[in-house]
């Protein structure tokens, strides 16, 4: 059978059963939208947690006259240290001012800058836990020019635990939603093909081969998935915009990933769904 005929047949299959196609198209769209939306939530959760994780650091306050260059390079030699940033006492004050903007006057009461200079020590991911912090902090304390170090300690492990639980739960939910969505899409497509089982029966009797019957349905599944994915994507963007404007101010969103993700999922589910469903009637 030529591709031309299959596509023509596929298009006819859609237009002939317009309302059937439309019904299941909407279900596919909404299902994919839910999936995509939950993907958005998961990604943002993941990013927030990662940012939180990266904020774990050791701050080392310095003695007044300190050889910063040597200190920095010594600290960088410690296993597990990723980066060291010098914050002068002036910078520290400015940062504080920026954070407290509204209460600026409070600071003007100080005659002299009371903040000491400090080093911010970023760690490798493996060391961002209570043990790692303690070890590295201990090593830093031994260096000359370091007055004091502060770090989260126990709290960090607590945070890690919570993070892990939330991530696991989110992935659990995501899995449930993925399965539900695939399931709903498959069942819906099955229903639309079920409604045409009599037609399929007749086609077989007239001598149509399995592929001649299946290809137009697969094409229908393809279009359904494609358009459904597109609709899901548009709905996701709208939701994203609303969420950004009204609630979060900023959210992680990758236009093309979501675009191709939605459409790819739609197409894959659509083709497999109708392929599997039509198979049942071709036996």
């Amino acid at each position: 059978m030529s591709l031309q005929i299959s596509i023509r047949e596929g298009i006819k299959t859609i237009t002939r059963n317009g309302s059937l196609f439309f019904l299941s198209l909407l279900v596919v769209s909404i299902s994919l939208f839910l999936l995509s939306l939950f993907g958005l939530v998961t990604i943002n959760l993941y990013y927030s947690l990662r940012i939180l994780d990266e904020k774990i650091e050791i701050i080392a306050f310095l003695d007044e006259p300190a050889d910063i260059t040597t200190l920095k390079s010594n600290i960088l030699k410690i296993h597990g240290v990723r980066d060291v940033i010098y914050v002068s006492s002036d910078q520290a004050l400015k940062e504080l001012q920026r954070e407290l903007k509204e209460t600026e006057e409070v600071l003007s009461i100080f005659e002299e800058n009371p903040l000491p200079a400090s080093l911010r020590i970023k760690l490798d991911a493996d060391y961002r836990n209570a043990q790692g912090l303690e070890d590295i902090s201990g090593k830093i304390m031994l260096l000359r020019g370091v007055k004091e170090t502060i770090y989260g300690g126990e709290l960090v492990d607590q945070l890690k635990k919570i993070t892990k639980a939330i991530t696991a739960f989110d992935i659990g939910l995501l899995l449930i939603i993925v399965f539900s969505v695939i399931f709903v899409i498959f069942q819906t497509i099955k229903l639309t093909i079920f409604a045409r089982s009599r037609e399929i029966e007749i086609m077989k009797l007239v001598g149509a081969s399995a592929s001649f019957i299946a290809v137009p349905f697969a094409f229908e599944g393809f279009v359904q998935g494609f358009v459904g994915g597109l609709i899901a994507f548009v709905l996701t963007i709208i939701t994203y915009q609303i969420a950004v404007v009204y609630f979060f101010g900023e959210l992680y969103f990758h236009f093309w990933w979501f675009f191709f993700g939605d459409i790819a999922c739609g197409i894959i589910f659509g083709i497999i769904g109708s392929g599997v469903a039509v198979q049942r009637f071709l036996k």
């Binding site: 059978m1 005929i5 047949e9 006819k12 002939r16 059963n17 009599r198 037609e199 007749i202 086609m203 077989k204 009797l205 007239v206 001598g207 149509a208 081969s209 399995a210 001649f212």
Partner: protein, 219 residues
């Protein structure tokens, strides 16, 4: 061309459809399958296009032994056979023209030949004026004619006509009968199931007479 060897068909609940049927049909023959309601006429035809499988016995059609015919090859068998179904079996969501064209599309006929053959058949059966109508917009007789057109359009090796004139008036019936004889004359083997014994007697063709699934006369 078609041979039944001790074929028995038992439906669910031990209902006997056909019992111990044996016969041969040579290429180019015209055969009536007669018998009262429920005698097994349609069952016999269904066995030939492998819509049903026999409970016992061997059926050979064209070069195939239907018992060992692989599932993948069934479409090939069916493409060589034209069937006028007793209940028409038209595709409800396709127009008259599309229904007839469908029988051609499943074969690998080039598009141009397809249109030519299609037009020819529709004109011949005087269906052209209704060609964009859907089955539900056609009268009973018109639907039957579409079923006939679909079976004829492919120039089948074997034509199975199950009660092809049940919904047609005398004149149309006569026309269809002439068409069947015509196509038979051109070489197609024709099996026609009917309960119109008068017609059969008039035609003086070979007849398979069934009664309660058993072959009683066979001349």
């Amino acid at each position: 061309m078609i041979s039944f060897n001790r074929v028995t068909k038992i439906y669910q609940k031990d209902w006997v459809g056909l019992k111990d049927i044996t016969f041969q049909i040579k290429q180019g023959e015209f055969i009536f399958v007669c018998g009262p309601t429920g005698a097994g006429k349609s069952t016999l035809l269904k066995l030939i296009y492998k819509d049903e499988d026999p409970t016992e016995g061997i059926i050979k059609v064209l070069d195939w032994n239907l018992g060992t015919l692989r599932k993948n090859n069934i479409p090939q068998l069916r493409r060589k056979i034209g069937v006028i179904f007793q209940d028409f079996k038209l595709l409800q969501d396709r127009t008259l023209e599309e229904n007839v064209a469908f029988a051609l599309e499943v074969t690998d006929i080039p598009p141009r030949d397809l249109r030519k053959k299609l037009m020819e058949t529709l004109t011949y059966l005087r269906l052209s004026h209704k060609r964009f109508s859907y089955p539900f917009q056609l009268s009973g007789g018109e639907q039957q004619k579409v079923a006939i057109a679909r079976a004829l359009v492919r120039d089948p090796y074997i034509l199975l006509a199950d009660e092809p004139t049940g919904n047609l008036d005398a004149k149309s019936s006569q026309e269809i009968m002439n068409t069947l004889f015509d196509i038979n004359y051109k070489g197609t083997t024709v099996l026609m199931a009917t309960h119109d014994l008068k017609l059969v007697k008039k035609m003086k063709k070979r007849m398979i007479y069934l009664e309660e699934g058993k072959l009683t006369t066979h001349n």
